[in-house]
Amino acid sequence: MLTIKRGGKMKRFLILMMMVLLTFSVFTEGQQEEEKPIIFAIVNDYPAAKVHDADFEGWLYADRIVAPFTEATGIEVTIRKYTDATDNTAKSLDMDLASGDSSDVILSYGGRVNKFANADFGVNLYEALPQEFIDQFAPSALKQFERNGELFTLPMPGWATCMMVNVDLFEEAGVTDILPADDDPDRSWTIAEFDRAVKAVTALGDEYYGYYLIAKECGGDYWIMNMLGGFGAKLYEDGKVALNCPAGIEGMEYIHYLHENGYVPYGASGLFDGDMASLYFTGKLGTRGYVPMGADAGEISFKDGKNDKPFKSILMEYPHIEGVVDGVPPCYGPDATMVIDNGDPVRLAKALKFIEWLAGADSQSVIAKSFAKFSPLTTVITEREPGPIGTAKAQMAQIIKGRGIYDMGVGFPVYNELRQIWLAVFQGMLTNAITPKEAVEEFERRGNKLLSE
């Protein structure tokens, strides 16, 4: 990097030192190659470990996944944690890759890993991994990440979206006939039924709303996209924006209609996901989009002095248009893992072995259970735990099994830019700067431009 130019003696000394170092490294190089463990980089949010348990990730990744692997194959793996995973950037990972200090296998949310999912960094896993292994994955999950027939990343357990319904409010509004019985596995309903319920709940009073909308930041766009899915519209197909069709426009117009007529709380463009949760858990919201991830599914509420009675919540699919589609595949936000090709075939081979283990059924079961996520492997069954949590998760797993997943573009390398465009045109529609039809057209135009670069 820096060249220090000095005269005569210094120069000769430096050259001598370099030669010594060079010879030294030549002799030790062979040994170092064998012993260097492959690096497994995990990019996550910072305090995840503390919140779940002390050194949760140490327990999970080190003990339950890496240790058995090393025992079985003799390959050493070092875990490297990056904790600046906010807003789908992975700056530290980028920096390390740029400086040549590269990991061999990375695991993070799909929206972060997709940046590296190309021939510059990885290898085509369709060719590098055995076919039986690839066949374990649900096809729709793989399709999210496939590009031009090549696959660089493997989906790992992720979250999936559904709706939560406040049964007590539905009772008050007199629309419980819409809801399925508790043990009925069919959690689907039609847009017409949904519409009726939303209007009835909103009519209960000034502070009640049937549904909600959020559009303050990119996070939460999946709730809206799932709604569009209910109209039968796909966001993306074959690497292009597919929203500009009658179904897509109808869906956007319906959402716009809900917003214009006060069936959703005021100020969607300024509200966070968490604000909606506040409204729901204080018993003011009839339905909300939901991700069954944790200890809050089922009968819960917050005591705020006014609503001390916990209300009953049940899980439902997003509503679908009758006669057009059968049901709505949930939006699915998987983690993803990939190998980084560092130009060393020995390391690459080890990394491929590890990724087969990491993305295999055993590891995915452990991860899915620990994080309450849903695995893209058809061979992994989400265990049913007792209580409302278990019920919700099992129902969600059924839905995914039956419907597949809704592609929200996580696999695209320009996913984050697409989301920014989506947010922009959606806000434009909400503020009436553009009509729903124009919003769809603009999203298609800008999206396709980005996708074709």
Binding site: F121, G267, S269, L271, P413, N416, L423, A424, Q427
Partner: protein, 294 residues
């Protein structure tokens, strides 16, 4: 001859001068100049974290054809045009009025103005998000009391721009006020007394004595604030995410998204060069107008 050279005063001055700026210069070259140049040259490449391919001016052509780029440019100019005059003149007005108020009150005013600067832009914006919240925010509650309807401060097109400006202005004026107050206190009172004898009123005193004497500070403040506002992005990132409908995107916000969310470092570098050119031009114009009058 060599001995004469080393002993001449001029050379001695040179060497001492160089020695004085040496530490700062070395750090500057190592940690600012070289990385900046390296970063900027990426503008002619298509670069992700690992691989760079030379593409000539393609990045610039892409930017010129991108209507959002022009929107960001226009927004940034709007930010500068709206905020900088306020950030330069409001503290000046306050400094003038506070000048002959009791010391304790001066301290209080200085404190009040500087406090918003103490947190990082991102962190104070998080608090403002709460204040601006359409459902749970203080602002909507207050204007509700007066009878005005609720406003989505960060989610409606004219309001979003002003929300960003409010946060920007309130969190940047403190330093200017301190500089102005310090400058004002070092102006000789006798000048004012003499002017009063000549029959000047307060306004004339301000215009003909205060402003010219304070010009160096005003120049410093104007130039640094312009540069600062041109670089705005953290507030936008937290407050509006560039929305609604691209109404608040700024150039550097775009650079951040391109660089770190999409790994398009070449494009980000190209946009950085454009920002550099604009800021340099603005600064040079301001220098000509404000500084070279001395």
């Amino acid at each position: 001859m060599a001995i004469n050279f080393f002993q001449s005063k001029k050379t001695k001055d040179y060497i001492i001068g160089l020695a004085l700026i040496a530490p700062a210069l070395v750090i500057f070259i190592l940690f600012t100049a070289i990385p900046t140049i390296q970063g900027i040259t990426l503008a002619f490449f298509k670069a992700n974290a690992r691989v760079s391919r030379y593409v000539g001016f393609k990045n610039f052509i892409y930017l010129i054809n991108d209507d959002i780029f022009w929107k960001a440019m226009w927004n940034t100019i709007k930010y500068v045009g709206f905020s900088v005059p306020i950030m330069v003149s409001l503290p000046f007005y306050v400094a003038l009025i506070a000048h002959d108020m009791p010391k304790k009150i001066q301290s209080f005013i200085r404190f009040a103005f500087y406090v918003p600067l103490i947190s990082a832009g991102m962190i104070i914006s998080i608090v403002w998000n709460w204040i601006f919240s359409p459902q749970y925010g203080l602002l909507n509650y207050i204007i509700g009391l007066i009878g005005l309807g609720p406003i989505v401060w960060t989610g409606t097109i004219p309001a979003a721009f002003f929300s960003v400006c409010i946060v920007l202005i309130t969190s940047s004026m403190g330093l200017n006020l301190i500089l102005y107050m310090s400058g004002l206190s070092s102006i000789d009172r006798q000048l004012y007394d003499a002017a009063e004898l000549d029959g000047c009123d307060n306004k004339q005193k301000a215009i003909y004595i205060t402003v010219p004497l304070m010009l160096p500070i005003i120049a410093f403040v104007t130039i640094t604030q312009t540069i600062g506002v041109m670089m705005i992005w953290q507030i936008i990132y937290v407050l509006t995410s560039g929305g609604p409908y691209f109404a608040t995107v700024s150039l550097v916000y775009q650079i951040y998204i391109r660089a770190f969310q999409s790994s398009k470092y070449g494009l980000a570098a190209a946009e950085s060069i454009i920002v550099l050119i604009i800021v340099l031009t603005l600064a040079l114009i301001q220098k000509k107008v404000l500084v070279d009058r001395e």
